[in-house]
Symmetry: C2
Subunit: 316 residues, 2 copies
């Protein structure tokens, strides 16, 4: 979803920061959906980078900037341990290795933008989480992301590519249907009532978490693509800025945007499993390094709803 | 070296904590050196766990306790990136996966004692490094160890085995010859002068680092084998206690033990590369979690020298 939004922006503007983009190649396990591009050539490729030869083929294309978003989401990575490690860890490592080997053949030093997640942090957690706090994930998904962050640091330090890791907040409001992520309800309790439909709230109102909009997420990646490498230092993975909000604050923002009738569409159906999972998640974090590097996000849930209504709502 | 010392203790006493040991199997890429064992049966096996089938064979032996020490050392992992990742990362992951799959076949839940290293920490570092500080290694060796720590946490959380990670301080005084580790001089500037031989000191006197003896290192592993799992929590990797000392303090301890003539055998040959590497290493760390769990080490370099003269010196 974020990848699609990012590609739409690049294809439309034909730019990454100051640079013109000649060609944008979309790569996914299935052939990605075709969309209009007016700013640059757009190409599509179906490749599964969890197969080393596929990652090699990608590297031989010698892109200047690579956005790596491919991932099995948290719920699925927890349910299917083999698939999660294969896609999230082996896929990323294959890609990194392929780039290293391509550079051995002929000098090659692309910018590698890697999407990580706040799931690299696990309970017990301070609120907010300071910069330089231990990555001790409490999910296999978070473990896989944390491992890829370490690889990104090492491959960058050794000069195989120029990596920037972007620890995305939980993205709300996600358009479309709920995915298998345990965090899905943070979006659906806003999205469904805004469309006049009921939504299930599986956790208590005081659950607090860290959010940004799809627009900001795409903006993070675009900014990470053009960031001055020298300013980042050896720790290449950055906590993105975001909005710290409780479920209660989400509900109040929904009330502001769509009234009591919309709020009445939220059905409380406590789910102990999801309550336990979310209780281990970050409530807020210190994004000062990323902010100093120019990354920007929303400041309130009201803004997050406004962005959704403008960019992503089917009514919009 | 630590592995050998550990095995000698187990083979001699035939015990791990309160439990009797039936059988001890030593596994290494080459057939490990045979030694006397009186307390229990001792077996030898040449296996390379960076080959998945070899790791599977190990798992089918269904040991109650596994000590995993296999590693390509820091200097070598930096020089040969493929070998380092293959042995230190893939080897460990193969072993972990083989145990998970063996448990799928028939219930199996061994204690897995993994030796990590303070090299998981990288500059800039506070002195001392608090518990819960980010693992941001500045070497491929440290990266590989940090990744294995994450895997150990995840596999333990998911119930595939009962992992305990032991972040070893730099071990001094190592007996025998210098190995390829950049930290070798910390031992040799004591060991060689104690034997009346010259030693090269490649860094300045104010370089400070974190040490324990081989005896303590073996003691950490023995204690980790019998530790109550419930007391550890989800973060299974522990900073071991140690001695924080500068090179100057090492030299003074050498003077106490062997006089000015011994100190005069240290030749200062500054090496910018080693100076830079060691400047990124931990100076001291907070081992309070491990200490609360009963891990113990020396308190002074004088003690470290005494342990060497008793346990490991060729004269001893």
């Amino acid at each position: 979803m974020i990848g699609r939004k990012l590609c739409e922006i690049i294809a439309r503007t034909g730019r990454l920061g100051e640079s013109e983009v000649d060609k944008l190649t979309l790569v996914d396990v299935a052939t990605p959906p075709v969309f209009e591009g007016s700013g640059c050539e757009v190409d599509y490729l179906a490749l599964d980078i969890s197969v080393p030869e596929a990652a090699e083929r990608l590297a031989t294309m010698r892109a200047d900037v690579i956005f790596h978003l491919a991932a099995v989401v948290s719920g699925e990575a927890e349910k299917d341990i083999e698939k999660g490690y294969k896609v999230n860890l082996d896929g990323t490592r294959n890609l990194f290795e392929a780039i290293r080997l391509e550079g051995q053949r002929k000098s090659y030093f692309p910018r590698m933008v890697f999407t990580s997640s706040v799931a690299v942090y696990g309970a017990p957690l301070p609120d907010p989480i300071p910069e330089n706090f231990i990555l001790a994930p409490t999910s296999s998904y978070g473990t896989q992301k944390a491992i890829c962050e370490l690889l990104l640091n090492d491959y960058t330090r050794r000069g195989f590519f120029d990596g920037v890791g972007v620890r995305l907040p939980t993205i709300i409001i996600r358009p479309g249907k709920q995915n298998a992520a345990a965090s899905g309800f943070f979006s659906s309790i806003l999205r469904e009532p805004l469309a006049g439909q009921t939504a299930v709230l599986p956790v208590s109102d005081d659950v607090k978490h860290w959010f940004a909009s799809p627009r900001s997420a795409a903006g993070f990646l675009l900014h990470a693509a053009v960031l001055d490498s020298a300013k980042i230092g050896l720790r290449r993975n950055l906590n993105m800025p975001g909005v710290a909000a409780t479920v209660a604050e989400e509900i109040e923002a929904l009330r502001n945007a769509a009234g009591d009738d919309a709020v009445a569409l939220i059905c409380r159906e406590p789910d102990q499993t999801i309550e336990v999972i979310t209780s281990g998640w970050p409530k807020a974090l210190d994004p000062s390094r990323a902010e100093a590097l120019g990354f920007k996000a929303e400041h309130t849930v009201d803004e997050l709803i406004k962005v959704y209504l403008t960019d992503d709502s089917p009514k919009g």
